[in-house]
Symmetry: C2
Subunit: 387 residues, 2 copies
Amino acid sequence: MQNFDYQTPTRLIFGKGAIAKLPQVMSTFGKRILLTYGGGSIKKIGLYQQVQDLLKDFEIIELSGIQPNPKYNPSVLDGVRLCKEHKIDVILSVGGGSVLDCSKAIAAGACYNGDPWDLISYKVKAQAALPIVDIITLAATGSEYDCGGVISRTETNDKIGYMDRHLFPHTSFLDPTYTFSVSKKQTAAGIADAMNHTIEQYFAEDTTLLNDGFCESMLRSLMVNGRKCLDNPEDYTARAEMMLACTYGCNGILSLGNSESGWPCHGIEHALSAYYDITHGEGLAIITPRWMTHILDEHTLPRFVKYGINVFGIDASLDEWTIARKAIDETYKFFESIGIPMHLREVGIDDSRLDEMAHHIAVNEGLENAYAPLSEKDIKDILVNSL
Amino acid sequence: MQNFDYQTPTRLIFGKGAIAKLPQVMSTFGKRILLTYGGGSIKKIGLYQQVQDLLKDFEIIELSGIQPNPKYNPSVLDGVRLCKEHKIDVILSVGGGSVLDCSKAIAAGACYNGDPWDLISYKVKAQAALPIVDIITLAATGSEYDCGGVISRTETNDKIGYMDRHLFPHTSFLDPTYTFSVSKKQTAAGIADAMNHTIEQYFAEDTTLLNDGFCESMLRSLMVNGRKCLDNPEDYTARAEMMLACTYGCNGILSLGNSESGWPCHGIEHALSAYYDITHGEGLAIITPRWMTHILDEHTLPRFVKYGINVFGIDASLDEWTIARKAIDETYKFFESIGIPMHLREVGIDDSRLDEMAHHIAVNEGLENAYAPLSEKDIKDILVNSL
């Protein structure tokens, strides 16, 4: 078991009607709020108006139009500028993980005098950040309970996972009813995203019975409840359990003491969505089973066997290689069954830039140190097999 | 799924050598430390001297002699007096859960002008508490990652679980090597304590696949690793996993969104150790299977079936009642197999005060609202069956 230094200070206010505590929470920071959000969905579900009503005694500056795979330019830069111009006290992020990831980068940039990219690219370590409060409308990324965010810089095809302990949200409001209107496509992508977060941590060295069991529970819960959410989008219990499960995805609680796994599917997917701006969860779902097939060997076999038996209930008396291959097949079939396009071509990616992406990933993602080390050729093979 | 408002801000510094960060952590609070500990065990393992060496630049006032089932008088009262007299900046608790529980009550009492019992008995709500840092030497209670403590008041036979959000430790140092010298008796009691914490949360209404799976993983991990710790007290990996599992026992992470279970075995055991000062984990191990037998009925049956299949691997094709009874039997046999005395008579409790204890529990513990409601007669029956 590896040493660790761990803290997750975020307050979770969870459940139907949770937002009633919003004014009380916001009043601890000051009067000037930067309200960040994406497109019109928070207006459509009435949440935008609800927030305005609850915070009528505050001064609200808005930054809207934050996109999926949030962009450094213009979103982060605009947000930082607004924070400085208006002497913002606190950022209120209303939306999914992309809005929150963008808000985190803004929070750090607002307390830094240079180019915010210095922070995101780890050239400079953040010394402070504005406090962040969020209201989550999509169960997927876990950004509401971690200190990381992923920011894309279009001109360089960079998509960087940026983590800093100053970036834990102060408080996350999680009301499952806000996810009732999430489309089937986005619900499925959220399921795949959270499942992949779990898988990235499960396939590692030095895992424990405890962590393995937590991860297996996450995966079973996400599959069962995810399917219920797709069948009946207003199933409160299923939406709630899925929302809770997603919060654990990236804050480390599933892998305390494990060796670093390197998060290889994320390393690969970040290039896909940086080059092609695809939906992150779909990219992960496409890559995951191909990555699994690629790394299955004598060394990784026992992990796949455990995964197959405990997550999919595959008959433990079968031959180990059969169990492992069935487990990978079940993974693929589950993603396919929830409506995810399972080929890169289906999300608009052909073979024209595979070499370039494989090279970019190999240079930037450090996957030669992953649980199963990946060379540029390995990465290229996984991409080709994902077409 | 129930609403919840959840936060666990404690920093965990975990692993061999973790203590190296102690001076840095302590320096954030000031120079004056109240060092709390129990008997001589921290001196025997060299930890006392190590702490003194690391903190030679601080002013250290000591409160030693804190007992298991820590006492309001003299320990809490002495500690509060010392904090006030010496204008203590921070409390450093070195030992097991009892030392830390006592330190929490001191931390609250030091910031209150009246009788500290006002706080512990919830007559007055704490407005502040001194910061607490701990170094854990016994894996059991989970006090290092929660905001509660249990304090005994001998003259009234009260043993009260006191929780307040100000009482989360700022930082908990968890070095599994400090638990190498823990006796077989205390190791077994620690296993039983953490297992019961999990069981108390597992047997509840409105549980989720996610929480159930987390709890089942906890129980399997504690049994496997607990046994390894007993067989080889210096098995670092087993001690480490047991230590990590124990931290999750009481901070709520195993039951977010579940209905309140009422923690019935704790309600009953608190009276046993208040009246007879027995080892808490042993009391819980004795009560747990008798409580299970008592509450097994048509309504609770499915929980026991799930517990039996997923925790003990009982054949799912058996009749449900058979699975449930086997599960209870396996629980009893596991505790017995790790050397816990499984009858009240073996820990010095006879039938002379059962009525008095049953009445005390019925009046004070609110078990009529537990997952399976318990009347005074139910409690008496469980006690009689535990003799």
